[in-house]
Amino acid sequence: MLEFLENIIPSSPVALVVFALFPMVIIIVYALFAIWLERKVAGFIQDRLGPMRTGGFHGWAQTIADMLKLIQKEDIIPKDASSFLFKLAPFMIFTASYAAFAVIPFSSGYIGSNINIGVFYLLAITSFLTISIIMASWASNNKWSLVGGMRTAAQMVSYEVPTIVTVLSVLIVAGSMNLMTITEMQTGNDIMGFLPNWFIFQNPFLIVAFAIFAISMLAESHRVPFDLPESESELVAGYQTEYSGMRWGMFMLAEYADMLLLSLLGATLFFGGWNSPFGTFMSGPIWGFGWFMLKGMLLVFVMMWIRWTLPRYRVDQLMHICWSILIPLSFVNFVLVALWEMIF
């Protein structure tokens, strides 16, 4: 894709910038759509309509209107807050999310940076999210924010362990850390004659791995039932309490970007990334992008579905699930995946 851009745009740096901005466009369009979808899904589950008016058809412009409203709002920084960190945190959290998209293979024709340690880079850069949230909570100089920030730190650091172990079990099967290579390995429909060669079908223990990954994914992106960092009925709004206007909007954007990132990672590792489920039928760079986003959005939809169904866990129960259930289970599963690979 970079070559194609360099052909139509004469100046190489400009082409590079356009190339790098591609995920940004996806994130923003997706966030606008996902926030609208979240409201619609909530409305559907709760037997009501959700947004119906703004923009005409089913309130499609509601999120755009909300974003415009947020931009116009007064920029409030609490008097005793640490002004520099307070301003820096929302940008840092979004930057971390955005930077992680660099190694996501959106289609066979587009990957931001085709590096060999793609998975490693992605897991490392998302740790910045934790730092930014602690930064936001500490800089706000608000007790509710502080409690929320401390919860987040504990939660995200803990849940990184099962996430990484399940990702590692995929890496055993794949034998590569490059996400593009991992996706290419899943091309074709050979399993039992018709099933696509996705990793989830290749090794039965990877189904367990995916279940663990999905639970950790909910916790990593602070979704119900693990939305303790901002649990509104306890902590007002957690680390976001003092934020308003577009700074708050950045947190919102980062939260949704994070959801998409983890969903796309899950789609790449377990569901064949940009591969079509029908072999060569409807495949190719453009179709591939469509399939990839579809898989990601399905996972995002499941996260929304869970959000509007379940209550929230308590902080000690959250830790209990992670350290006493998910981590031992993911290690055992890791060994089983490895054994299966050795034998078959």
Partner: protein, 380 residues
Amino acid sequence: MTNQITANIHETKEMTINMGPQHPSTHGVLRLEVVLNGEVVTRVHPHIGYLHRCFEKYAEAMDDYSKVIPYTDRIDYVSAMNQEHGYVIAVEKLLQLEVPERVEYVRVILAELQRIASHLLGIGTFGLDLGAFTPFLYCFIEREKILTIFEKISGARLLYNYICVGGLMRDVPDSFKPETADFVKTFRPKIKELNDLLSYNQIFIDRTANIGVLPAEVALNYAASGPMLRGSGVSWDLRKNDPYSIYDRFEFDIPVGTGEVGTVGDCWDRYMVRVREMEQSLVIIEQALEQMPDEGNVMEAVPKRIRMKEGEIYVRTETPRGELGYYIISDKSSSPFRVKVRAPSFVNLSILPAISRGALLSDLVAIVGSIDIVLGEVDR
């Protein structure tokens, strides 16, 4: 020396935070002064009075006993019918007034419908406190149906001013009976749906079982009443134990906390008592609808002017939140000399510090939600 410095670094301090008066889950303008050690609550001190509206003083200033009724609506604004009912019974007893049969039945049906509406709100917001958003809206859909029935008979959806001394403001419309029967029929399956979605949800049970345990003894010592007391396993319901109005004519059970998923008297028990009470209210409504006379002048016994003799009376009724008492002293004038309200929420809230010690901050939210306070009633 080095050790001392590290000791200072690792020293933890208790943190005092204000939960409320503006907080999403204090159910109004309750302010809780919470002392936290990490996330563990070491002390909690409720501050009340943000919604004080001088009900008792206003009642003395009214030049007619009937003019107090709109104020009683506002004591507990989510169960206004029950509040009116209690006050009206007190005044009628003071006047030694007999009310027509039809009026009694309509009042009981309204009081039970209001009990369901109030419990739906309590249950829904309790779920909301624990992060479950959807059950809250499911409850509101059902509550809406009750409010529609009330709107048809009284013209208001929240504060009705419908029950008056000696009767009702106007007769119920013809549609009242079939619509109420229809509601009873459609509401039963919804309770099952609520149980599937929330009551027996494992996360919900994890969050509420063995939390905020209130032993029966403590509950009695603090004079708790309503679901708060019954949740601790004490079978005490004024509709059965000290029947007022015509409650002695109906067959129904008193649900009590059994410790089904945890300890007797935990948050789940208090919650479940409310759910089961809604079923019992449906039983009462069904019987009342069957026995209710179709004809009768509801204004028959309404006095043109209330002429009160000297005297005093204390009447207690069972509202959704517990024992509501009206103590009225009358002199020969047309306005009451004194009206004292014994508000169940106020008494129930006083237990909060005793049962929330050592709980986590999230548990505190669950405990406050399970008490089901209405700040209007706490402060009056």
